[in-house]
Structure formats: C-alpha cells, structure tokens
Subunit: 405 residues, 2 copies
C-alpha cells in the first residue's frame, strides 16, 4: 500500500486546510474525511458517493430517516435539522443495502460496524482530551472456564497506576445491546471522562473494567426459536440462560482474573457495577444476585421493564430475593443505587425507569434518579450518567440523598 | 438498545449452532455474522443484502474483482477461487457506492474502515491465541510539541511486564499507508505472534510501540497540489515535509515519552524499528537519520524504490549519508538490517526490493533478505516477516548471516 501511503502522507491534516464556512468535519470522522460535517447549529451534513444508485436514504437510528439528494457529481447529500449534542449512530441505505458511511469512524453498534456523527455540546468539555494526566486503556484476554473461551476485555487504569504503589477500587462498566466492550471507550469516552474527573479531584482514582456482554456456556446450543415470538416462554428461557452465562463468567472468571492481574482492593466495599441499556439489566441481575461482591450499583437507561410486575411497578419487598425488603438494611448494604434516563428516550423506556424510580421511592429505598435533559437513548445520556455516577463511588460513609430528582 | 440487547443475548454464539457443510463463518466476521464464510479449500463466500440494487460487485484489493449474483431473497452472493492464506481486504460496490460489508469486522485500511476475510493457513498457529501467557496491549496518548496534538499509540507489553522488575528493549513497529496504529494488532496479530514467540523461548521479551504514521507540524498547511502529478517536485516536497514531521515526532516526542512511561532499556543497543510498506520507507529514513537511536532495522515490503537511483540500484557508498560506506563499520553499528517481500507482490514492489537486496549484496552490506512464499502485499506476508524478524532482535553479539536468501 505504499502509493496510498504517499498520498496519505500528503493528505493527513489536509482537512484543516480545506474547511470553509461554518460546517466543519465531525470529530468522529475517519482520517481526513471531509464529511460528515457539523455546524454551530448542531446540524450535520452527510455526503455519500453512489453514482449509479437510484435511491439513497440516511438512517439516523434515533433521528431523521430521509432520502438523500443526488448531486451531479455522483454524490448524495443530506443536511439534518439541529440535533441534540452527542454521538448519533446512523447508516446509509443504498438501493436497499444498509451500509456504513466510509467518511465515519466505524463504531460497533446495532450488532454491526456502524457510522456515527459527533455533535459537540457547546461549552462542555468533560469528555474531551485535556491537559491533564491521562490513564491508559489496556486490552486483556482472560480464559473463562464458563464459556471455554479466551475472552477480550478493556481495562482503564487511572493516570497514577504505574507510579503509585496503592491499590484501587474497581468499576465494572457494561455496554448496551448490539454494542461491545469497546463502546465505553470509543463512543463513551469513559477514559477521558475519568481522566478529567480525577484531575479535578471530584472522583476517586479507580480501575474500570469493560467486558463483552455476550456469553454462552461451554457446549450450549441455542434452540431453534422459529415461530417463538419475542417474549415467549421459550424466548425468555434462552435469554435467561444467556444472562446466567454472563453472570457466571463475570463472577467466576473475570473478577478473579482482574483481582489477580491488577492492584485492586478486592472486596465488595470497593467494587461497583454499572451498565447502559442491556448492560443496566445485566448490572441489576449480577449485583443483586451477588451483593457479597458489590456495594455500588448503576443502571443507565437500563431495561427496567424486565423487573416490573404486571402493574408496571416493582415490589421492593419481594424483588431481587427480598434484598430491599428492609430499606434500612439495604441502605447500609448498598452504598449507592443509581438509575438514570434521558428525558427524550422512547416512551416505553422512559416510563419503565420512571416506574422503577417511583417504586423505589414508595418502598423508601435510598437511591438516586438522574434525568439527562434533552437527550435520547444515546451516548450523550450515558456520558452524563457516568459523569454524575463516578464521583459518588467509593465515598462511604458519605451517603447519596434519597431520590435526588 | 435494550430490545436489540435481548436479541443479542439470544444470538451470541448462534453462529456455531448454525454451521453446515465445509463453509464456516470467517474468524474475521463481526459478532455472529454468518457471512463471509471460508471453506477448507481457502475459498470465501461473500453474501451481501441489497434488494433494490441493479449491480453489486465484490472488490478484493489484492484479488478478484467480480460481479456478485443476485438471489431471489434480495441477497447477492459470490464465491472466490481458492485464495492465499491470511487476511484479505475487500469492499463491496453497490450501484457505484464502494462500501464495507456489515458481515465483516471493520479494519482500517485504504484510508477507510474496510472489510476483510481471514483465510486460515493449514497447520499454522503462530498468530492464533494459545494457552500461553498473554501480554497486554495498552492505548496511550502522548502530547507532541512537534505536531501540537495529543497523539494516540498502542503499546504491547510482554506477559511478565507487571510481575518482573526488569527493563525491556523496544521495537517501534509501523503500519502501512492507508492503515493506522491499530493495524499491527487488529490485522497483524502482533501481540499474539509475540506471545507465542516469547512462550517458545525463541524471542526476547520486548515492548512493541505502534504509532500513527501520519504527522503534520504545528501550523503546517498542505499547499494546493491541483495539477501537480504524483512524483512531481511539488509533490515530493510535501511528502518530504510530512516524512520529516513524522521523524521529528517519533524521535523528539514519542521515544522520550515511551522511555519515561515504561520500563525500557533506553539506548540504541536495545531499540529497533520496523515497518511495512510506507512504514518500511519511514523506518529507513528515521533509523538511518538517527543511528544514535537504533541498531536494528526492518523493512517489510518497504517502499524501496524511493531509495534507488536512476539505474534502479542503491549506491551503498553514498546512500543514507554514507552510513554503509564501510561495510565492516556498518556491521558493527547496525546489528540487523532486515528486508522482506512476498513473492506474489506486484512486480514494481518486488523488483524494487530485489534490487535493494542486490545492491546490498554488491556493497557487501550484512543484511537479511526474506521472501514470503505465495503471499502478496498483504498481512500474511507481514505476519511472517514479524515471525522471522522478532527472534533476531536484541541478540547481539550473535550476528545475522550475509543475505540469508
């Protein structure tokens, strides 16, 4: 690839030289890509080459789905309405083929490598690289006797890990459904958020472990679910099997490996778990099944409905093996129960979390309910969640207020 | 994404349950993707959904470029001829739109996130994960006063780095043009290759630093090259500026950062540099300009032509500031000069490297020339290069033989 190489040597940084007007290449673009572009009104311009296509649509997963306009040069273009700040997943549909946009960095979401455009939030820089000490992100491979596989995970270590002799508390932080263990770094900027929070002194230095949320026990074969609808007993059974495999992999393989490999404080008082969406659902199951391992719990836009009864509420007396039956005992045992939602998320998700919050209030269960203003079931919500959640970790004896809503 | 999440929980691992016949999903596929598939004859089956497209082509960069066949279900399919082992980049062209295949993991190559299919090499496992101690790959961010930017790099640390108190030699390993610093891990499997070489005792434990090969000095603006052909004086001038920026960033910002951050042995006797294609070209320039910093040099399918004179040869008496003018002195100074090429690479590249090798032989310059049988300007060549190159590093006083061809 040396000729491409020479051209790359020429082009790197070229973008900056070519900007014009208020639209600028998005920070989420692939190297030197001029499109997508974003303007100061939070509008995005998409440009996609498909000279022989008869129809090209842009598909923002949480936003506009629209036909793109063919230009005489074989490119198709589209300009969005002003969008909420943050990272917006999208794909392009070319004559029926749903594909990613070569102009975008590839982000793993929706179970494939998708495109996204980063819309800056005015005056906000808590997830941007700053002149502060930077932690490192390590890739690790651990062998799991539960799944019988080598599994890949990412581990954030605080800036002083290599110089300080101290041991650190650990946050296990899970991605959403259709994403993978790279999500919290690539999309979420969790490492930069922690670098900045730690530098400001508001957050305890901690290790963050990001595991892959899909697991299958050795030899397990998924039964044929043809004709078995979403939510059917057969469907639920398989889902529970997979959830159980993940729970066992995490508690029997991952956590022991992490405590053996890194300078952790290996007790429940210094171990937290949180996750977004599917990861929130997993967090509730794993932590409430293993309160001997965890004392801080966070559900970011978590799949709450799973835990609500027919009347759309949670019975805090009986839920989770009765762990919350006595609010006082629970408050001593679990130092932080934190749930969050973006107030522009789809009604079903929002209602589920609001009902969960109401149930916890009624049950007098000490917790924090956080609402992210103007954001959807997207990464800006979860970046804000982490920014509010992380400083509350490992602060015992200080206790969070009852429903900070 | 929680509904997707549930479905993912169901589907993870589903692939294994669905295999049939000799074609199996490629190891390079995105999570659970059933296609591309590879059979034991090293043929690949590509399957791509584009119900409304009139023409879909598959484009293997170093192989077949062909029309795909439309099936009644809206999918287009193509089966390749038997291919050489290794990772083959490809894209799909849908009615003129060149895109990646959602079934493939996204690999950064050709200056975009492209698709690739991994064709196993029978009986070969030196780049596969094995039951051996695994090193870690760290992501680092260093500030460069040369470029004025925070720059991202990957660092491989040997398995015993966190337990042994010892210091390690360092190999700086560069990607090819159109690729980025992730290439040697994602495509090249450099971490697994080193894990296996170190476990076998054939290779000294070492740190490997993989930097981004594109750099631009603070404030530098690429001049408008419209109408200036590839290779024109203006073109060369810009290329040299970019090469110089990379050289300064590496020697003035990256190397000091690495020696400050990791337990390195910070001298020329314990510092090597190698790179593939464009990275090979950069390796020759950086190392020969800075023999005070390096004593081991590797060019993997490097862009040799750049260093040859009009007659297609290199004058070893004058080349690189006369560093090789006295072969005996050079042999004492540079412990390893290693060049490699795949014997199925394009003629121009192959000839350039063969001429370079011939020139070094004629000049009695101690070096190693390695040919990878049956492989192209692709990653299998470079994986083999690393497997031959790494064990020769940091072995002084043992010396490589004169042209091991």
């Amino acid at each position: 690839m040396w000729r491409i190489g020479i051209v790359m040597l020429l082009c790197a940084g070229f973008g900056l030289a070519q900007d014009s007007g208020d639209f600028k290449p998005a920070s989420s673009n692939a190297l030197d890509a001029q499109y997508p572009r974003v303007d100061s009104n939070s509008r995005a311009q998409i440009r996609f080459k498909a000279p022989d296509a008869t129809k090209v649509r842009v598909n923002f997963w949480s936003g506009e789905k629209a036909d793109m306009e063919k230009q005489s040069d074989g490119f198709w273009t589209f300009t969005t309405k002003p969008m909420a700040p943050g990272l917006h997943y999208y794909t392009v549909i070319v004559d029926g083929a749903e594909v990613s946009d070569p102009g975008s960095t590839a982000y793993f979401g929706g179970s494939k490598w998708a495109s996204a455009v980063e819309v800056p939030e005015a005056g906000v820089d808590y997830y941007l690289p700053k002149e502060v000490p930077h932690g490192q992100v390590r890739e690790i491979w651990y062998h799991s006797s539960v799944t019988g596989m080598w599994r890949h995970a990412l581990v954030y270590l605080p800036p002083d890990y290599d110089t300080a002799e101290t041991r650190y508390p650990v946050l296990y932080l899970q991605h959403g459904g259709g994403e993978d263990e790279s999500g919290w770094i690539r999309q979420g900027k969790a490492n930069l958020i922690l670098d900045n929070l730690i530098a400001s002194g508001s957050t305890k230095p901690m290790i963050i472990v990001m595991a892959n949320g899909y697991a299958s026990r050795v030899g397990y074969v998924v039964p044929d679910l043809t004709g078995k609808p979403f939510g059917s007993p057969e469907f639920i059974k398989v889902m529970q099997e997979r959830m159980g495999a993940f729970e066992d992999d995490m508690t029997q393989a991952l956590i022991p490996f992490i405590d053996k490999t890194f300078r952790t404080i290996p007790d429940r008082e210094h171990r937290a778990m949180a996750g977004l969406s599917m990861g929130g659902m997993q967090t509730f199951q794993v932590t409430f099944d293993h309160l001997e391992l965890f004392s801080y719990i966070g559900g970011f836009s978590g799949a709450a409905n799973v835990f609500l009864t027919g009347n759309g509420k949670m019975d805090t007396k009986t839920a989770f093996h009765g762990a919350m039956a006595d609010p006082a005992v629970f408050a001593k045992r679990v130092h932080l129960l934190w749930i969050g939602v973006g107030n522009n998320e789809p009604e079903r998700m929002k209602t589920g979390l609001e009902n969960l919050n109401a149930s916890l209030d009624e049950g007098k269960i000490q917790h924090v309910f956080y609402e992210s203003a103007g954001t959807d079931h997207e990464w800006q919500t979860w970046r804000r969640d982490l920014k509010d959640f992380a400083p509350r970790l490992f602060q015992v004896p200080s206790q969070p207020a009852l429903s900070a809503r």
